[in-house]
């Protein structure tokens, strides 16, 4: 009993450390990457390659006073940033990074991650509602409608993969893809999925991840050119910092899910040395794509975004689901 409790505590601490370190250094990577794209140096003063920038930013944010605007709902205002960070950290507990590196494997891992992901929308709603700011309110309304719209195609696509794997266990899903690169779920011919629509599923899932994590070109919640800073307009100090880190932690979770569901987890493309490094390589390549997309595309509109989900992605993913179900029945 006590051993299990200790295990859980250690797992959660490691998950928090991993999430925080990732969030901090992804900010650095994003700033350096953006600078590279925009032909400027980026943060390069503090430490080698500016590597001390994230901790210094953290210290600066922590040293600032947390201002609560007059008329704001204090409880929700303080709860919102915590709620932004908490589900992301909890999701890390069940993600398997390799055969042996997993904090707590569950046979319904996917369900748990999606349950926590849904809580992210709530933090945006709380933040916008409690700030007593019209911009924040508009932004949180946008963010919630966006979260609802994109969770549906994301879940349907995930169900497709679950049907192919026959399991909601993330370990099991990876094991089934581990034979070679052609057995990955993204590729249609070998492996479990004899489904020629799998590359499209991958694209749908990736798009939904972008939208779910409020990243450009779907960062309508933030939309700094019209809504100033969106739901975190009134946040300063570590309240803002938590939103910021939560965003990056969510990106890591989304990319982890993409790697596990479609890109074979920790299995090597050539069958050599499977291990956590392959997982991390795929993970950071995906995150680099996130950064690349953000600094290349302008922002979509809110109606364009909702139309894309309700009129294109949901019908497509539903069709994909039926098609996969049919294929499973036939073969």
């Amino acid at each position: 009993m006590s051993l299990t409790l200790l295990n859980v505590i250690v797992a959660v601490v490691i998950a928090i450390a991993f999430a925080a370190a990732n969030a901090a250094y992804l900010v650095w990577a994003e700033r350096r990457g953006a600078a590279r794209i925009q032909r400027r140096p980026g943060p390069n003063i503090n430490g080698p390659f500016g590597l001390l920038q994230p901790p210094l930013d953290g210290i600066k944010l922590m040293a600032k006073q947390l201002l609560i605007p007059g008329g704001a709902d204090k409880v929700l205002f303080i709860a919102a940033p915590v709620l932004a960070m908490f589900p992301a950290i909890m999701s890390f507990v069940t993600i398997p990074f390799s055969d042996s590196i997993v904090a707590k494997n569950m046979n319904v891992g996917i369900l748990m991650i999606f349950a926590f992901a849904s809580m992210g929308g709530m933090s945006l709603l709380f933040a916008g509602w409690s700030s007593r700011n019209k911009y924040a309110m508009m932004s949180s309304v946008r963010a919630v409608s966006q979260a609802v719209a994109y969770e549906i195609p994301m879940l349907i696509t995930t169900i497709t993969v679950v049907m192919i794997a026959g399991s909601m266990d993330l370990m099991e899903i990876v094991h089934q893809q581990s034979a070679s690169i052609l057995h990955w779920n993204i590729f249609p011919l070998l492996g479990n999925s004899h489904n020629i629509l799998m590359p499209f599923s991958f694209l749908i899932f990736f798009t939904c991840t972008l939208a779910e994590t409020n990243r450009a070109p779907f960062d309508l919640g933030e939309a700094e050119s019209e809504l100033v800073a969106g739901f975190h307009t009134e946040y300063g100090s570590m309240g803002f910092g938590l939103f910021f880190m939560g965003e990056y932690a969510n990106i890591v979770i989304g990319s982890c899910m993409t790697v596990i569901l479609f890109l074979g987890g920790w299995s090597c493309p050539f069958g050599l040395f499977p291990g956590v490094w392959w997982f991390l390589l795929k993970l950071y390549l995906l995150i680099a794509t996130f950064i690349w997309i953000r600094w290349t595309f302008p922002r979509t509109t809110i109606y364009g975004l909702l139309n894309l989900s309700w009129k294109i992605l949901i019908p497509l993913s539903l069709f994909n689901l039926l098609f996969t179900a049919g294929l499973i029945k036939v073969f």
Partner: protein
Amino acid sequence: MSSPIQLQPDETFILNVGPQHPATHGVLRVKMEMNGEYIVDAETVIGYIHRMHEKMGEVKTYPQYLMNLSRMDYLGAMGYSHGHVLVVEKAAGIEVPERAEYIRAIMVELNRVASHLFWFGAFVMDLGGFSPLMYALQDREYILDMMEAVTGSRLTYCYFRFGGLYNDIDDDFISAARRFIPRMRKSLKKYHKLVTGNIIFHKRLEGIAPLTKEMCRKYGASSAVARGSGINFDVRKNEPYSVYPEFDFDVPVYHECDSLARYNVRMEEMEQSLRIIEQGLDKLPDGPIMPKKKPKLIKPPAGDYYQAVETARGSFGIRLVSDGTKTPYRLKLRSPTYSNMHLFDEACRGMMIMDALAFMGSLDLVIPEIDR
């Protein structure tokens, strides 16, 4: 595109956009009556950066007022100075050497390219794409460096004098300008690849904020706002001044009336400005840059004088009423952005806020120039 919805005026709230808001690019305030994300009514409130330039025109002597004009529009300052020196020269009857006029035209066009480059970056930034701004600023930096070497300043130039110029251009400037033209053409191609061809960019601008010809005429709109709505009006062509009749250039006109048309007009104007600079450098005559005979004290005879010029933001008019003393009796500045901006109140009704702010970006507002 947003489909029109039935707006209920009793379910609205007031949203104050500005005076400090990232999209207004300055201290413009827009009072918006909103229904959810839709704008029911909008009212632009100006005057936050009023500096009494017109009154200063009545108090200061003519040479003292030279520097005021470039403080109006900090992005395309040369064009405004050009209008001022032209109207005073017309009033006082000062002859300008040909070389000076050519250099003036080259400078104004270079400044126009710089101004449009900044607009391009800021406009795409309004749409949420940050990177093009950095590319545009790099090209603009080249122009600013080039002009700094000759004029001594980077933004608020005081380069034109009554009758000529403060400083002659040298071989360094000419070779730098010649190098700049192919470089800029290459950049323009890059911008078209990066931005114009982007599907999100197209979707956000096509068919958004249609401005009819009648509306543009009603508000006195000029520059790309009018030319994007099919009005073929450019002061350089319609009321030629300076040495512009000597140059062969086109006035881009688009008939789509939407934000994309306004974008396209400005992008093509950059190319046309490059053509003018190219021809100006080829035809540049030798000679002095200041006239031999020039009155010590500028005292135009009593009368009413007007000069319009095409600046980066549209047709800028300057009316000078002289009573024969060393200060003007009245100096009226007709700033183009003032007219362009007032379109916004009427045109943005029924739009969503993000489209409206993209539309505002396409108007190319420079607030100090509105408030004067």
